[in-house]
Structure formats: structure tokens, C-alpha cells
């Protein structure tokens, strides 16, 4: 583990985000806490709807204000401030400059009626004092950094003229052009071909090392996590249920859900031939009807009455955290 003297660049404590719906208030992110250290890649993993995207958008305060709110006591500590309580003006200074975010669908995430150059220029214009010529230079430099072929030409092109992989590179360039401390990447490769996926992940890894940016990588794909993450946090139905280093999680998962997730990754090889792909029975509980006890109980293969009655607390265990009454221990 890293030396304990290193301070986290981001610390989230007891973050809870709620939405107002016509069926009542629902809590999408429930008492989530974690730390992010400089230069590391933290993976946030879970099924659709588990709250991982909402967590990241809550940090950036990008959720619609009239429909959502963070519960009192939520703390998002960054640069000496609690972003949960910061004003909109203060947030705007942070966004794009100190914390940047890229999204899943590069085609719809880029504005179709402005050129790539214009959109890069915009980000630079908000957060730097460079003049027009300098901004253009920097834009081209950023495009080169993300390994975009013919950057001078791309500057004048529109998003629909680029391929999926190229668009995502533009998104990354836009996000990193002001050299932020943190890059939040929300499913950055999900919409891309597998081969392009690998390139983008490599790119992100390389950039991270060069710029010492911390990355929060949100994904449902454990394969991606294995490739690029240092630490992992597993979420389920709005809760953190396990976290630890990638090595620990993959080799000795403690929570039954994590174990089942890992087992359901398709593997190749002679031994796997003819076997059924393991899946997890059942579905995620609706956020409107959460059980009192453990949220994973109805799909879990172990556990007893205790799991139905009382929800387990997140406990530290062997240098990591698990939320389970019956963590798996060393058994595989």
C-alpha cells in the first residue's frame, strides 16, 4: 500500500444523493465514503443503476438542482473545500479545471454544431488566460497528446466527421487540457469497439502517469478494471459493498456479490469449454422498495436470517472494506 503520509486528493464522506420523483424521494447513493489518492486509478464497479454515475455527478454537482439534493452531512472534500456545500460559482471554477469528466457516448457528448477546435478552445478559455493563438497551439498540442492523427486538420472538423474512438480522444483532450487533478471517466469505453477500447485505456494510463492525474473510472466491465485500476470500489443498490486493491479483490473477493461478478466474466481456455456461463439470479431491488436487511440477500447463495433482519455495516477487514455478515475469508 502507499505510504500513509500521502494525502488523498479527494475524500468523500457519507455522501448521500436523493432524487425527488413523482413516487416520492428516493436515495440513489446511500452513505458512500472513499478516498482518492494522487496518481492512482480508482475503479467504481457495479450493475446499471447501482449509483456509480450518480456518485460521480454528485461530486461534480452536475445533477439537476430542482430534482435532486445531497443529504445533510454529505462531504466531498477537495482542495480544502467541501464541494457539497460550495456555491455554483465555486463549482464552475473547479469543473474542467481541477476536476474534469468524460462521458460514455462521445457522439452525443460533443456539441454537433461546433468544431472540435471551438470546443477545445472553450475549455481553455474558461480556465486559462492564454490568448487566442496560444489556445489554438495548446489545443493542437492536446490532440497530439491523445494521439489524434493530423491534429491541425481535426481542429476545423465537426464531431460527426470523426470516428467513435477519435471522438473519445477529443473528449479526453478537452478534459485534460487544463491539467486537472482528477479525471472522472464514466464508462469511457463502453460505447467503443474492443480494439479501440484497449487503445483508449492505454492512452488514459499513459496520460495519468505523465500528468499525475488521479482517475476515477466508472464501469460495469470487470475486465477494464483488471487492466487499468489500482483500487476498486464495488457498489450495489446505492451502497458500497466492498473496496480494496485490484489484486485483493480479484484474488480474494470477500463479498458474495463481488465473487459472483468475477465468476461471471467469460473466460477462454480448454477447461472452460462446454461449461455454462455463470450468472447471478434475480434482479437488483427497486430503489423504491429497498429491504431492511442486506440489499443483496435475495440473490445471495449464503447467509441466513441475520441478513434479512439487519443490513451489515461497512467494516474494515485486512486493509480493505466489506459490507457483509458472512465475508468469504480466504476460501476461494
Amino acid at each position: 500500500m502507499t505510504a500513509t503520509q500521502v494525502q488523498p486528493v479527494l475524500e468523500v464522506r457519507h455522501l448521500s444523493t436523493c432524487f425527488k420523483t413523482d413516487r416520492g424521494v428516493v436515495t440513489a447513493v446511500d452513505d458512500v465514503s472513499f478516498k482518492l489518492y494522487p496518481g492512482e486509478t480508482l475503479g467504481i464497479v457495479g450493475e446499471s443503476g447501482c449509483g456509480k454515475t450518480v456518485t460521480s455527478k454528485s461530486i461534480m454537482r452536475l445533477l439537476p438542482e430542482h430534482l435532486s439534493f445531497q443529504k445533510e452531512g454529505s462531504e466531498v472534500l477537495f482542495g480544502g473545500n467541501n464541494l457539497s456545500l460550495a456555491s455554483e460559482d465555486e463549482m464552475r471554477e473547479v469543473r474542467g479545471d481541477r476536476i474534469a469528466m468524460i462521458f460514455q457516448e462521445p457522439m452525443t457528448s460533443l456539441n454537433p454544431v461546433f468544431t472540435v477546435g471551438w470546443q477545445l478552445d472553450e475549455a481553455l478559455g474558461y480556465h486559462t488566460t492564454l490568448d487566442k493563438a496560444a489556445r489554438r497551439e495548446r489545443a493542437i498540442e492536446m490532440l497530439r497528446l491523445v494521439e489524434m492523427p493530423e491534429p491541425e486538420r481535426r481542429i476545423g472538423e465537426y464531431p460527426h466527421q470523426l470516428s467513435g474512438g477519435m471522438r473519445q480522444r477529443v473528449m479526453i483532450a478537452m478534459a485534460l487540457c487544463c491539467e486537472p487533478d482528477i479525471l472522472i471517466a464514466d464508462e469511457p469505453t463502453t460505447a467503443l469497439d474492443v480494439t479501440i477500447q484497449a487503445q483508449i485505456l492505454d492512452l488514459m494510463n499513459g496520460l495519468k502517469q505523465r500528468l499525475n492525474t488521479a482517475i476515477m473510472l466508472i464501469t460495469h466491465d470487470l475486465g477494464v478494471v483488471a487492466q487499468v485500476c489500482d483500487r476498486v470500489m464495488v457498489m450495489y443498490a446505492g451502497r458500497v459493498i466492498e473496496s480494496g486493491t485490484v489484486r485483493d479483490i480479484f484474488h480474494r473477493p470477500q463479498h458474495p456479490y463481488t465473487k459472483a461478478l468475477i465468476e461471471s466474466i467469460p473466460k477462454s481456455g480448454a477447461r472452460e469449454h462446454g461449461k455454462r456461463l455463470p450468472t447471478i439470479d434475480g434482479i437488483v431491488p427497486s430503489l423504491f422498495e429497498l429491504p431492511h436487511g442486506c440489499r443483496f440477500e435475495d440473490r445471495c447463495t449464503i447467509g441466513d436470517k441475520k441478513c434479512i433482519d439487519r443490513e451489515p455495516a461497512l467494516e474494515a477487514l485486512d486493509g480493505r472494506e466489506v459490507r457483509c455478515h458472512f465475508p468469504l475469508g480466504d476460501a476461494r
Partner: protein
């Protein structure tokens, strides 16, 4: 881009030919000569009128004659009810009155509805948005005619009775100085009615645009609310807005028929209305053919403008 325009032109030609076909058939369901001359016409009269307009020829010849007239803009045929008056003159004279109402109405309506829509979208879900939308829906549930009746009553009639002759009860005279007196009231009424519909549409466009992913990206880059709305969103929203405005263009020239009839303004709509009432066949035929032609041309122009505004279309 040019192939795009060529395709649009090619596509619209059969449409126009179709319009002419239906129009001519519809007008000949009841023999126009009989309808016009009435029961007491002598056979000689009938034959005479028929021959003058070529109605004694086979339909296919009539069709091509009309087509040729329209394409060469030759409207020198005479009206039946107004002896000696050529349809081309009638057309020319009626354009200005029509435009005097519709163009200012369009400008005013667009400015007001886009502004209201922006406010509504900006404060989406809050009381002011809800109020504006409720007003729009209720306003849309009342007939245009009712607005005209009350508009004329309050704007012209009441005010005149109390001595201030601000608006005419009807009629028209050309000239900029005369415009407010004759035209402002109909324009205001027209704006009042159209704003409800347009605002809802523009608001929907803006709300839809504001929920797009690139708006989130813009905010994530640090854009403030004003920048997001007026730069990112507006430019995208302009595409459907412009398209909508363009589709109302043909109606600009053709005038608001109801207003013209009610306020006795001699625009294209009223001329056509009277012609239909009086069974003035040549006028009806030419006017509708011209209307349809204007419509087709403006369709093509809309498509071209669309291509200019949306880079995705322009560069494909």
C-alpha cells in the same frame, strides 16, 4: 450540397404536378360555367365563356395550358366577376395587403414566443413556467374567431365609440402612415393567437436540447448557465426553430384569410374567398395554383436553409 438541392427539386416537381391535377379536378366537379352563369344562361353564353377559357377542350390540354401559364407566370386571363380585370393584376394588388399583416405578425410572434420559451425552459418546472404553459393551453382552446371578434370589439369598436379612433374597424389603405390604423389590430390578434402554439413548441425544443449530453459536457467544462443556454443550446435549437419559421413562410404571402375577410383587407386570402363565393373560376384556379407554387418553392428554400444551419446535413 448541390446534389442535395437537385434532389429536393426533383422530388417536388411531381408533387406540384399532383397539386395542379387535384385542384383542377376538384374545381371541375361542378361544371364551373354553369355554376357561374346560373340557371338562366343561354347556350350561346355558355359556349362563349367555355371557349374563352379553353374549357371546351379535353382535360389534358387544359392541364398543360395551366401548367404552362403558371411556369411562365402568365396570369393574363380575366376574372369572370370583374369584367376586364386580369388575374395578374389582382394578384399584384393583393400581395401588399397580405404581407402587411403576416410579416409583422410573424416577426412579433417569433420574438415573443422564443423569449417566453427561453424563460419557461430556463425556469423549467417552477411556478412561472407552469403558469405560462397553462395560459398557453387555455389560450389554444379558444377559437381564433372568438379572438378576432373580441379583438375587433375592444380594439376598434369600443375605442372608437369613446372617441379615440386608434384602430379601424375594417378596410385598408396602403402606405406606412396608414399601417397602424388598419393593420396593427389584426397583427396583434394574430400574434396573440399564434403565440400559444409557438411557445409550447419552442419550449419543447429547448427543453429537449437542454437535456442533451453535450449540455452536461459543457457544464462539466465549467460553462455558466447563460453560456449553456444562449450558446450551446440556442444554436442547436435554432435548427428546428428556423425550420418551423420557414414552413410558415408560404402562409405569409397568402395572408391570414380569416383576418382579411373579417377586417375587409383586400389581401390574397380575401380575394380567393370572394372568388370562391362568386364562383369566379379563373381566379380560384390561378390563385390556388400560385399558392401551391409558393409553398413548394418555400419547401425547397427551407431544405436549403436547413442544410446551411446544420453542419451534419451540409457536409454529408
Amino acid at each position: 450540397m448541390w446534389s442535395y438541392i437537385a434532389r429536393k427539386l426533383l422530388y417536388n416537381i411531381p408533387v406540384y404536378l399532383g397539386i395542379l391535377l387535384f385542384l383542377m379536378l376538384a374545381l371541375r366537379v361542378n361544371d364551373p360555367v354553369h355554376a357561374f352563369l346560373g340557371k338562366n344562361a343561354t347556350d350561346a353564353d355558355i359556349l362563349d365563356v367555355r371557349a374563352k377559357l379553353g374549357l371546351d377542350q379535353a382535360f389534358i390540354y387544359q392541364y398543360f395550358d395551366l401548367l404552362r401559364d403558371v411556369l411562365t407566370l402568365d396570369f393574363s386571363v380575366e376574372s369572370w366577376t370583374n369584367e376586364g380585370l386580369r388575374v395578374s393584376d389582382m394578384l399584384k394588388r393583393s400581395v401588399i395587403p397580405s404581407i402587411s399583416i403576416t410579416v409583422p405578425a410573424l416577426v412579433l410572434t417569433s420574438i415573443i414566443s422564443i423569449s417566453i420559451a427561453l424563460i419557461s425552459a430556463f425556469f423549467r418546472g417552477r411556478p412561472i413556467d407552469r403558469t405560462l404553459m397553462v395560459m398557453a393551453v387555455v389560450g389554444m382552446s379558444v377559437s381564433f374567431l372568438v379572438y378576432i371578434i373580441f379583438g375587433q370589439y375592444w380594439g376598434a369598436y369600443l375605442l372608437t365609440r369613446e372617441g379615440s379612433d386608434l384602430f379601424a374597424i375594417g378596410g385598408f389603405e396602403p402606405g406606412l402612415a396608414n399601417w397602424p390604423y388598419y393593420c396593427l389590430l389584426p397583427v396583434l390578434i394574430s400574434t396573440f393567437v399564434a403565440t400559444g402554439y409557438d411557445t409550447r413548441f419552442y419550449r419543447a425544443v429547448m427543453v429537449e436540447e437542454s437535456s442533451r449530453d453535450y449540455i452536461t459536457t459543457a457544464k462539466a467544462k465549467g460553462a455558466n448557465r447563460r453560456k449553456v443556454m444562449f450558446v450551446h443550446m440556442l444554436k442547436n435549437a435554432l435548427i428546428p426553430i428556423i425550420t418551423r419559421i420557414m414552413t410558415t413562410l408560404p402562409f405569409l404571402i397568402m395572408g391570414s384569410l380569416l383576418l382579411e375577410v373579417y377586417f375587409n383587407i383586400p389581401g390574397m386570402g380575401r380575394v380567393l374567398y370572394k372568388a370562391i363565393q362568386e364562383q369566379d373560376f379563373p381566379v380560384v384556379q390561378i390563385f390556388v395554383a400560385v399558392f401551391a407554387g409558393i409553398f413548394i418553392v418555400s419547401n425547397i428554400l427551407t431544405d436549403v436553409l436547413y442544410a446551411l444551419v446544420d453542419p451534419r446535413v451540409r457536409l454529408s
